[in-house]
Amino acid sequence: MIFSIVITGAPYSSQASASALQFSRSALKLGHSIHRVFFYADGVHSGSALAAPPQDETNIPAEWAELAREHELDLVVCIAAAVRRGVLDENEARRYEKKGHNLSPNFNLSGLGQLVEAGILSDRVVTFGA
């Protein structure tokens, strides 16, 4: 089966990203493929490279990054949702003349087309909501 995952909740204020992570690990372990993970609304904060949770708590952005490296996952952060919430890659930082950028290197900013394309090409879309 081809899955895509949608996450609309931020780490800490919702369990969405943590649940999606566990679901994705199980799906991959069972031999399914994950076409894309799409981070929308407050879900974009899962892509922050600056998050520094206490050592004894799950570092959700780091765990997504690790899963992405292992399984070549496509982690897409909605660009419009991200930019207004202060999650920027180098390009967007330049465009908006901001001094820094904070998108974790394993994530990509892109448009809502990536969500719709995922819906078209995947057998199942599972949303983890805020």
């Binding site: 609309t8 929308y40 609304a41 809502l112 087309g113 719709v116 078209i120 090409l121 949303t127 909501g129």
Partner: protein, 122 residues
């Protein structure tokens, strides 16, 4: 499923302005329509409040949702379904809504969901 077409349903359950959910849902709707996929929008619970006319969101430093709703017609998105019970509970008359909508009861909502390939909720 032929030619990579999938039918999409967007469920709108949240009131506008208190969060970005209503705007996020409409942005996805317009994008689905750009991809020329069959699309329906369902407004239930507080989602029906998005359809009230004459917003003045400048009073709280936001943009009117009605501009986005008007885009639906421009994009030929005309499958708009509204939960009649949600209107009643809130004391909204169907005539108050200026868009071309189809009222559904619970049974109709369940049937609409059943028909879809993909359902996205907001």
């Amino acid at each position: 499923m032929s030619d990579n077409k999938k039918s999409f349903l967007i469920i709108n359950r949240k009131a506008p302005y208190g969060s970005s959910a209503a705007r996020d849902a409409l942005d996805v709707a317009l994008t689905i329509s750009v991809f020329e996929q069959p699309l329906s929008l369902l407004f239930i619970e507080d989602g029906v409040l998005q359809l009230l006319p004459e917003h003045n969101a400048a009073a709280i430093g936001q943009k009117n949702l009605s501009a986005n709703l008007a885009m639906l017609e421009m994009y030929d998105i005309d499958q708009l379904y509204v939960c009649s019970q949600a209107l009643e509970q809130r004391g909204v008359r169907p005539a108050d809504i200026k868009l071309n909508i189809t009222l559904l009861d619970q049974r109709g909502i369940a049937a609409l969901i059943k028909q879809q390939d993909q359902v996205l909720s907001f």
